[in-house]
């Protein structure tokens, strides 16, 4: 085979290029073997799954009946006029709009403050991190107890002479209660992200600012924030994607109630898919959610990156 190769030939012919490719394949074929287990799983559970999901979103599909008629956009139009879906999207939007900036700002503040102290820094980091690694099922149950009418939260409020509501059973306070718990549980994680970002900022910048006589606030806005940009983008985008799909804490704490006040899109998808077995319809709703998530992450990345990133 090698005898046929013409090294002096100026333009490689198609045939010889193909031979080269074959030679490479023959030398490196174990590479394909090594990626095949992962490749097979990812193909089935991501690529086939997503195509399948799109397919059934255009059909009436449940696991029980054999008849699965094509319905075109029926599921999508039904979702757009479904009151439960609308409530789900409204609550999810409120949730995302509150949660994402709150967690970003609080964890950034914690990281900056934690960076200021010398003694006990590692201990603070550990303590703030504990809620992050505890299974969300456990923290949710713990907070159900804290939110009881005479529970820990209301006792704390009582000490400040405020009468607390019946948090999880009042349509006005149930969603905020879940949001507070989620913020409490997530700030430790993003604090670690920001601490790592802060550690990357060269000391020289701060020294230069000091020489110029810049105050704390000035330094924070003009040095820390711009140089933390990568961490900030990461936090913002990943938080947004995760927040749009909120499920477990709602499932444990309120089951979507009272009076649908904590119904989120993912709860609605679960309801239709696994309680009413309308898989096709539920898939259509999940694609609407995907569309919204895609739109917002693309928008965020565009906004951030257009301001000269990297």
């Amino acid at each position: 085979m090698t005898t046929l190769a013409q090294p002096s030939q100026p333009v490689q012919s198609r045939a010889s290029r193909q031979r080269e490719l074959w030679k490479r394949v023959r030398k490196t074929w174990p590479g394909y073997l090594f990626i095949s287990p992962a490749g097979l799983l990812i193909t089935v559970f991501s690529y086939i799954a997503i195509i399948f999901s799109l397919y059934i979103s255009f059909h009436q599909y449940d696991i029980i009946s054999e008849a699965r008629p094509f319905e075109g956009l029926e599921n999508y139009t039904r979702a757009l006029s479904d009151k439960l879906v609308r409530i789900g999207f409204r609550n999810t939007f409120i949730y995302v709009i509150v949660i994402v900036p709150s967690i970003t700002i609080i964890s950034l503040m914690l990281a900056v403050l934690g960076n200021q102290v010398r003694r006990g820094r590692a201990l603070f980091r550990t303590v703030f991190f504990i809620p992050t690694i505890t299974p969300i099922v456990v923290t949710s149950m713990l907070w159900v107890w804290l939110y009881e009418p005479t529970g820990g939260i209301n006792r704390l409020l009582q000490m400040m002479n405020v009468e607390g509501p019946n948090w999880l059973f009042n349509p006005k306070t149930a969603l905020p209660a879940i949001m507070i718990m989620t913020i409490w549980g997530a700030v430790g994680y993003y604090m670690i992200i920001f601490l790592a970002g802060l550690a990357e900022i060269p000391e020289v910048f701060y020294e230069a600012a000091k020489v110029d006589g810049a105050g704390r606030w000035h330094t924070f806005w003009n040095i820390t924030i711009p140089l933390l940009r990568n961490s900030l983008i990461f936090a913002f985008v990943t938080l947004t994607i995760a927040a749009f799909q909120v499920f477990t804490q709602v499932f444990i704490m309120t089951q979507g109630g009272p009076m649908n006040s904590t119904q989120t899109v993912q709860m609605v998808v679960y309801h239709y898919a696994f309680q009413r077995f309308e898989m096709g319809y539920a898939s259509a709703i999940s694609w609407l959610l995907f569309g919204v998530i895609f739109f917002f992450s693309a928008l965020q990345l565009k906004l951030f990156i257009s301001r000269e990133l990297y």
């Binding site: 490479r24 490196t28 074929w29 174990p30 590479g31 090594f34 990626i35 287990p37 992962a38 490749g39 799983l41 990812i42 089935v44 991501s46 690529y47 086939i48 799954a49 997503i50 399948f52 999901s53 059934i56 696991i63 403050l113 200021q116 102290v117 201990l123 603070f124 303590v127 703030f128 991190f129 809620p131 505890t134 299974p135 099922v137 456990v138 149950m141 804290l146 820990g152 006792r155 409490w184 994680y189 670690i192 992200i193 920001f194 601490l195 790592a196 961490s231 990461f234 985008v237 990943t238 799909q245 499920f247 477990t248 998808v269 898919a273 898939s283 999940s286 694609w287 959610l289 995907f290």
Partner: protein
């Protein structure tokens, strides 16, 4: 301070300096006070959980917010393990987490090594195809994954719980990054000694990648241990439930027996706490890395 007293001429300037020191010190005190208060809010719910898990029911109803159980009892743990069946769930969770941990580490590292070091045609495109799945929201894949598992006859089986977790795009990405930074000379030596691709991976690369493997391993374990939605959907028999689904069920049927629920929650959290104490640096290092790379 002694110098400031002996300095006669400093007047206003000195006063300014003292003021600056004072504000700096009070700033530090405020920072500490704030951090300590927040740290308490983080840790206190867990202290309550732990304390209440040792309280008898009467003790709990009279003093639900005392931090010291009077007298401490282990009957709550007995209840959690018998009525709450936490022992069964604990065994299942250990099994699920161990299976996913071992298999995913092997599959991910093998693929990562291949993507980092074996120069097969189409490598870049295939790696991008793997990475792209990181962008897929789990919300969209949940229903089809269930239907595929159902089609394969895996509903309510051990395999059904663990199979989708056997490969992870994030793990492949993380390990590939690590393999890329290992000097090539080390493998070349092995190659000259007649090692094939697999021999190089197994004998040279895997031992070198230990830190990255531990980091990924801890993440896989934490993830699997906390996983709730997937086992909730795929399983219908309580004998196969992991701790997360099990404790939720236990609370649902035992609304009144909070101390036993707290005992169960403590049992669920315990392995995590142990892991965290042992592997804190790896966990924090791994999270820091994902933030910086992003």
């Amino acid at each position: 301070m002694a110098r400031t007293l002996s300095d006669p001429g400093g007047g206003a300037k000195e006063q300014n300096r003292l003021l600056l020191v004072a504000t700096k010190r009070s700033f530090t005190i405020i920072v500490y006070a704030l951090l300590i208060a927040l740290a308490f809010s983080m840790i206190f719910p867990y202290l309550w959980m732990l304390a209440n898990s040792f309280k008898s029911r009467t003790d709990f109803f009279t003093n639900p917010y005392s931090v010291i159980p009077m007298p401490p009892t282990l009957s709550t743990y007995y209840d959690a393990l018998t009525i709450g069946r936490m022992g069964v769930y604990l065994g299942n969770s250990i099994l699920y987490a161990a299976a996913v941990l071992v298999v995913q580490l092997f599959i991910d590292s093998l693929a990562a090594y291949s993507f980092a070091r074996v120069d097969f045609p189409g490598r870049e495109a295939l790696f991008l195809a793997v990475l792209a799945t990181l962008m897929l929201p789990g919300s969209v894949t949940l229903i089809p994954t269930f239907l595929i598992a159902h089609g394969l006859g895996l509903t309510n089986t051990f395999t059904g719980v663990v199979l989708p977790g056997f490969a992870g795009a994030f793990g492949i990405f993380l390990l590939r990054q690590f393999f890329l930074n290992i000097p090539r000379e080390l493998e070349d030596a092995a190659r000259i000694d007649g090692s094939g691709f697999f021999g190089t991976y197994w004998r040279i690369m895997l031992p070198l990648a230990k830190p990255a493997m531990v980091t990924l391993g801890v993440f896989i374990f934490l993830n699997e241990w906390s996983s709730f939605v997937w086992p909730l959907i795929i399983l219908s028999d309580w004998k196969k439930y992991p701790v997360t689904v099990g404790i939720a069920l236990f609370r649902d049927v035992n609304q009144i027996n909070w101390p036993a629920v707290f005992a169960g929650s403590t049992i669920v959290s315990f392995p995590i706490v142990i892991l965290f104490v042992l592997a804190q640096e790896y966990i924090i290092g791994g999270i820091s890395l994902s933030g910086l790379k992003g």
